[in-house]
Amino acid sequence: MQAAAVFRKTFGTACRIAVNLLIFAIFFIPFYWMFLTAIKNLGQTLQTPPVFWVSKPHWENFSKVFAAIPFFHMLKNNLIMTFGIMICQFFTVIPAAYAFARFRFAGSGFLFGLTLATMMIPAQLVFLPLFLMFSRMGLINSYASLILPWATSSFAIFMLRQTFKQVPRELIEAAKLDSASEWKIIFKLMLPIAKPTIVTLGLITFILNWNDYFWPFVLTTNNAVRTLPVGITSLNIVDGGVKYHILMAGNLLLVAPVLVAFFFAQKQIIKAFTYMGGK
């Protein structure tokens, strides 16, 4: 009996470790492959069967990236676009979510429904009219054209509204009895409670826009405000022929900030999905 129990326990542990390893591999191998390709030379990238280890890393691939595209200029554009969007969303999403969560006003249900409905419109449907609109306003090749279309987010409004709604009514009433103004209730009470959600939403916005390729590609015709993803893609055609190693070195430089951001925010993200309110 005891031997069977020991076997069952060992077998269970082994299965669990195996599944964990598999999940780890699914997420890790693409990153490893990207890193590996970034330090190979052209010959190694095309080699069959592929090699899974490079003894002499070609770090010069990274300097080739800097030489091929105006990397720092595009990085600056990327930062301006991404943080511009995040700042705009901070000012549009929080008040909207708070109003939808806390106030009943004429048409509030309809407006909230309308906000949710915008999530169902496919991007392909709106990009042409948006492009025409921006081009008529003379905003092509400007930061405004990169930032304004994403200046708010119905998904973020929805998520934050749900978080605000979870805050017990008595907390707000207690704050009112403590002579707190509506703004004070928002900044001293609601936002700190919603911090994990706000950090998570901020990170999602950051990743989505940092890596966004399509919109910056459509709305720019020269390098003035082009962002890194557009620039990295153009590495595809450096000196003719596909240079996978240069492309991957560029990609590695592109995703590094995202990984760093995730590393610092992971505690808050876990909290956002487990937060149960102040009871």
Binding site: P168, A174, K176, L177, D178, A180, S181, L189, I193, G278
Partner: protein
Amino acid sequence: MTGIELHGVEKSYGKNQPVIENLDLQIGEGGFTILLGPSGCGKSTILRMIAGLEKETAGKIFINGEDMEGVSPGAREIAMVFQNYALYPTMTVKENIEFGLKNIHVPKPEREARIGEAVKMVGLAEYINRKPQHLSGGQRQRVALARAIVKKPRVFLMDEPLSNLDAKLRAQIRTDLIELHRNLGVTFVYVTHDQVEAMSMGTDIVLLENGKVRQQGTPGSIYSAPRNLFTAQFIGSPPMNIIRAENLAPGVRLPNGAASLGFRPENAVVSSDGNADEGRASFRGELVAREILGDHAIYKFKTAHGNIHTKSMSGRVVEYGEWFVGVEGKHLYFFDEHGDAITQSGGKNA
């Protein structure tokens, strides 16, 4: 005019039937007034209207003679303790207590002094830098109390503040609240459905049913002179025994207009002798259940007139079997067909 006064207050939600209709209520200054009643009787709504958290549909509310019309909750100089404590989860104990003072721009040295005083009063000094989630239920309740004390309000409002605590802690905080009320000397208004809390802490009890005041008075008067069946049956544990007149034996003499007779379980005497003296009521019944609770015992008898409960403090244990339950005339209550109390002579019991 001091204390709290409600004049013709009405409250309804949307187009529904009003939950409170034409309510007149006076809450004396410096008293410990209990709003007592079953759930859904409107007691919390009354408290929330006094706090300004809900607007009365009609009528007027005065606090110390001032009309509260249009006065925001924060400007009413009141403090409220909620059932779920409503502590700010992202702030420490100290920040929780300090928040209200900061909002009304109390200077820092005075803030510190008042916080020190309040946490000492509730015995929380060592927990001042903790967050609420790291405190027990009883400690959270004390933080909520300290947060109220520190504001030095004219009125303390409490909405079932003990109902989330276990029985032992409830008993302890009950005595703490009595002490606190005596120390502060300000008006306390306390909402509860628990008659033990009401009787033990209150100096004045307002008994409510369906948004109406059924009786208001001291715990003693509410217990000994109930004005109606509702009061008689709400106060007391077990509640008053009520026997309909038509179920009584023909020999029992009732005042004119009496539709039912009542007596408290603690006033009934169990004996083997059924001979009733003049004015004494006696019922024959079978003991069907008994609860021995140490200092007292509760018995349930099945009689021809319905079930009767008795409560004995004598320590003598009554054996199962046939018994007589006797009540002296002075312990009998009579009610007319509307449930209003009447005296032995048949007059209204004012």
